[in-house]
């Protein structure tokens, strides 16, 4: 299987575990389990998403698969090749784009930097410059700008171009659209999707933008605390929540200003997972949560208004819910039934929002 022409999975992990140890004076003083027995299979030609909050283990997994980190135990294979025993053969067939990466020779131009990377992949000059020009056009980046003059978004565009230089069979995208404007992020997502479909390439994408995962991934695994909690197509994952109803309530009047300020401060934004602080936002969250038939509630605030996203067992709960809100002195400005999103799936599985550890909710 060393040639990588395998009919099996493009990426495979079995009981993969990675523990980081902090040592002082030769003694282990702290252990952090980054991956806790990951089992995963990504099929050839699949765009596979790993959805998880910061610190969930996504980057650790990608680094192991990219041969930049050894697992503590377990097994990982890329294109049928073992990451520990055949790293050189794997490296010929993969590439990686990391979000927020400050990779590139600051004083050189983008084009020069990309050319230097192309030399590491053995591209001839003619082929390298042809690819670089196409990729720069694709990401809409001026190749004559020095790397140290690039904004965060432009730098990310360069990283993106670098990832495609060698036309990898498996591409690892670690938060690839971090720092990009919405339009560029969308453009790059569509490029990735098209690239996967036309070339039957494999992509493993880690993100905490659920929209990104929903838009381009064939399947998504939800990872938290180094464990995969669920893995399926986005549609199937959401279908699993369909027995629930999701309603969005727009609140105004009464203590809404105080509640909105509390939500903004984070008094209750974490929903069910967070302890209260006694503010108006927390009172609202607790009251809604205590309505029989309510499974979860998350509050958000925008322009001084409060919006509550409530998961209920059935439509019958709504009457009691509306009455509870009125008793608290809030006016109900709007009520909308919604389809579950991947974030709802994430919330249901982990008990917290995707942005609880500093990530963004979606774009």
């Amino acid at each position: 299987m060393a040639d990588g022409h395998t009919a099996g999975p493009a990426i495979e992990a079995r009981s993969l575990r990675r523990v980081f140890q902090e040592r002082r004076r030769g003694r282990v003083v702290k252990e952090h389990v980054a991956l806790d027995g990951i089992d995963l299979e990504v099929r050839p030609g699949e765009c596979f998403g790993l959805l998880g909050a910061n610190g969930a283990g996504k980057t650790t997994l990608i680094k192991i698969l990219c041969t930049l980190l050894l697992p503590t135990s377990g097994e990982a294979r890329v294109l049928g090749m073992d990451v520990q025993r055949e790293p050189a053969a794997i490296r010929r067939r993969i590439n990686m784009v990391s979000g927020g990466e400050h990779s590139g020779y600051g004083i050189l131009t983008v084009r020069e930097s990309l050319w230097l990377f192309s030399q590491l992949y053995g591209l001839s000059n003619a082929e390298a410059f042809q690819r670089i020009d196409r990729l720069l056009k694709m990401v809409d980046l001026d190749g004559s700008v020095r790397v140290n003059k690039l904004s965060t978004g432009m730098r990310q565009k360069m990283n993106f171009a670098r990832g495609f230089l060698n036309e990898p069979d498996v591409l690892f995208l670690d938060e690839p659209t971090l720092g990009l404007d919405v339009q560029t992020a969308r453009r790059l997502r569509s490029f990735v999707r098209e690239w996967v479909e036309e070339r039957r390439k494999t992509v493993l994408l880690t993100t905490h933008y659920m929209m990104e995962a929903d838009e381009i991934c064939d399947r998504v695994a939800i990872i938290s605390g180094g464990r995969i909690l669920a893995c399926d197509t986005p549609a199937n994952l959401k279908r699993g929540l369909r027995q629930e109803r999701v309603v969005r309530l727009e609140l105004a009047g009464g203590a809404v200003a105080e509640a909105a300020a509390g939500v903004t401060r984070g008094d209750a934004a974490g929903g069910a997972a967070r302890g209260g602080t006694g503010g108006a936002a927390d009172v609202l969250r607790r009251a809604v949560q205590d309505v029989p038939g309510v499974r979860r509630v998350t509050l958000s605030a925008l322009d001084g208004r409060v919006s509550a996203r409530v998961h209920v067992e059935s439509d019958g709960v709504l009457v009691q819910l509306v009455s509870t809100i009125a008793e608290l002195g809030f006016d109900l400005h709007g009520l909308e039934k919604q389809d579950p999103t991947l974030e709802d799936v994430f919330l249901a599985l982990t008990g917290r929002r995707l942005d609880d550890e500093g990530g963004a909710v979606g774009r």
């Binding site: 990219c66 490296r91 990779s103 569509s190």
Partner: protein, 284 residues
Amino acid sequence: MKRDAALSPPPGGALAPAARRGWLGELCSGWGFVERNFRLIRRYAAWEVAEQFYNVVNALTIALIGVAQGPEVVLYLTVGALLWGFLSVIFMEVATSVQWERWEGTIESTFMAPIHRLTFLLGTSAWAVLYGLVRTSVVLGAVALFFRMDLSRANLGAALLVLVVSSFSFIGLGLIAAVLPLLSPEKGAQATHIIQGVLLLISGVYYEIDALPAWLQPLSWISPATYTLRDVRRAVLHGATVGQLAPDLLRLGLFALVMIPLGYAVFATAERYALRKGLLKRNG
């Protein structure tokens, strides 16, 4: 979704046929490091000129110390300054190669690239030798003009041969020192400076080894710079032939034969350690 020509994936499959692999591919990749460093230096041209000016002045001030004792001492000190400059460039370029990758944020991309680690190390070493030769030649030219040196007795061919052979020994030393920034992102670079300082102290750069305290003198035997300096001085000051220099040339050759494979083996072991500990990450 509307299709855009610029959005279309680039042509060609995985690597082949555009990519060169095998020894030619490795050679081209190795040369890529030489070219990368050249372009970086070219962009820092003003700094390079300033540094070269300092190197010339530094060599001159060292040589001027010997003016009162006569031209032979001036030449003795000049050879020390030139050789130390040359060997330092080789040692530091190789030893800090990993550290530079960390600072530039390219360590993951470089170490994930499908090239042999030896290609990375030898590419960096080739650059170090070329760069060191150019820098040393500039200083040599300036010092020779300043002192109107008489090199009629010098066997420059033999001196050059010593220089070439000793370059390989210093590459081996550099490879071992390059391991330090690999193992310790924070303290590795500092450690390479300490090694460089120890080599300066024990190798007899500006004085005879006899000037060292007796307990320190045995250390000079394990520094290839000791033999390089001794032989180049013999060739330049007394016109020693290759035959006369043969014993030290053999020692330097043996150093290289042992140090380069040893340096590579140590580097490979350290890389495995870094992979296990998760140390292959950029700084800043």
